[in-house]
Symmetry: C2
Subunit: 107 residues, 2 copies
């Protein structure tokens, strides 16, 4: 169920989709109608965005009668955090190497 950074970035790039995910993080489990009320687009659009979020592993769904409840799965953000950590550490490692070099040049 864990997706790479690529799918995460692409999925979260859309503002409407990100807003849906944010609402689910804030308010917990919600139905499609409830999410559609808060959104600025039609119900089919909301359903499609939820499908994309689900395929990326960012949300989970639960069927109950004719309702579908969606909830956020923030654990799916892991690879995204790992990626930013990696990029930052690359940079810091380079800074450290530069400092070492300058120290060696001093003596």
């Amino acid at each position: 169920m864990t997706t790479g950074p690529d799918a995460l970035f692409r999925t979260l790039a859309d503002p409407t989709r990100r807003a849906l995910f944010e609402q689910l993080c804030r308010e917990g489990e919600l139905t499609v109608t409830r999410l559609t009320e808060g959104a600025s687009v039609s119900q089919p659009a909301v359903s499609k965005h939820l499908g994309a979020l689900r395929r990326a592993g960012l949300v989970l769904d639960r069927h109950e009668g004719r309702h579908t409840h969606y909830r956020a799965n923030p654990e799916a953000l892991g690879p995204l955090r790992d990626w930013t950590d990696e990029m930052t550490s690359f940079w810091e490692r380079r800074i450290d190497a530069l400092e070492d070099l300058m120290k060696r040049m001093d003596r």
Copy 2:
């Protein structure tokens, strides 16, 4: 120079662009020709992607004669980290509230 999560997600959603940023994080300062060699697209495409990264504050450029040196600016990833932290904390806060509720229901 600090950009919101929206611009960051949209800018990093493209694989080619993200690869350029990753290379700059790993290898430090590089010229456009050097970056084009490693990329799988033409030089104009690389230039456009670098422009997008620069507008998002993710890279900085330095002109030296007829060369332009680009370098990563990982500090720009801050809002992205803040956003993921916020989403995770929303979720954890909800879990905590749920546990409290269950404790109250026990007694």
